[in-house]
């Protein structure tokens, strides 16, 4: 029959483990997503490198909609003025994208 002291000890270890896990999860959640700002008809930065699993946010600061589009990989649909489109990088590669509404706007996403 386990005594009181060993029960208390196991509880303490479990509690400590849970606290450590919470701290780790909290730290991971605070890592900001990479951001591309869409403004004055440009993607800034025009070239961005991220790692597989990272999130990228495109923020539209122009007064009209834009899109982020690359065949078979990126399709934001219309991003309204003030809106954000978030994409999680899935597999490594170089993606050249553009705005379907304003084809002179181009950008590049490199996923490592």
């Amino acid at each position: 029959m386990p005594n009181k002291a060993s029960l208390l000890g196991r509880t303490a270890v479990r509690t400590l483990g849970l606290l450590c896990l919470c701290a780790l999860l909290s730290a991971a959640a605070k890592v900001p997503a990479k951001t591309v700002t869409i403004e004055a008809m440009k993607f800034e930065p025009q070239s961005l490198t991220v790692h597989v699993g990272e999130q990228v946010s495109w923020v539209n600061k122009d007064p009209f909609p834009h899109t982020v589009n690359a065949p078979d990989s990126l399709d934001s649909k219309e991003i309204a003025p003030g809106a954000v489109w978030v994409y999680r990088a899935r597999k490594a590669g170089d993606i050249k994208y553009h705005c379907t509404l304003h084809p002179t706007m181009t950008g590049e996403l490199t996923i490592r």
Binding site: E39, P63, F64, P81, H102, T104
Partner: protein, 171 residues
């Protein structure tokens, strides 16, 4: 270039404004709002009449983008408590826009498409020139100037798109 464009450009570039202090912020606001609305109205007419998907898509882009710019301009002047002041240039713009609409209403098919796109090329060239030579340099309020600078690339993109469409229609 159409006569209305020549009138507009000469009013902006060759007028007393170019030599003196330039238009005031309320006058600039009226010019900007009118310039955008003229293109919105032309876009709506072209989109409703044209049978070409390319022309319809371009017209929709003009409607969407110029509506957005007008909203941003209107929000800003409201915030700044500036009342747009109609002036010779804004009135000339409106007249030119009305004349263009009257002309487009008489046309159909390829003739409509050509007339609309040709006008869009000339119009955006005139507006960009006016922004560079008069509106941006004359704007006194920093936020108004910043908005004009920020939206200018959109007019460049529209001009490039209109020219490509013009070339495509000429084939």
């Amino acid at each position: 270039m159409k006569r209305s464009m020549v009138i507009f450009l000469s009013l902006i570039v060759g007028s007393a404004w170019a030599a003196a202090a330039g238009p005031t912020d309320p006058q600039i606001a009226a010019i900007v709002v009118t310039a955008n609305q003229v293109d919105i109205d032309a876009g709506k007419l072209a989109k409703s009449k044209s049978k070409s998907k390319q022309v319809q898509d371009f017209a929709q882009l003009m409607i969407t983008d110029h509506t957005g710019v007008n909203k941003a301009a209107s929000d800003l002047v409201t915030k700044l408590k500036v009342t747009p002041e109609p002036n010779d240039t804004s009135k000339s713009l409106q007249k030119g826009g009305d004349d263009n609409l009257a002309n487009l209403k008489t046309l159909d098919g390829a003739a409509l498409d050509k007339a609309y796109v040709d006008h869009e090329v000339a119009y955006h060239e005139a507006v960009i020139s006016a922004m560079d030579k008069t509106l941006i340099p004359s704007a006194q309020n920093a936020e108004l100037k910043a908005l004009l600078v920020k939206v200018r690339p959109a007019f460049d993109a529209h001009l490039a798109h209109a020219k490509a469409l013009q070339a495509s229609l000429a084939k």
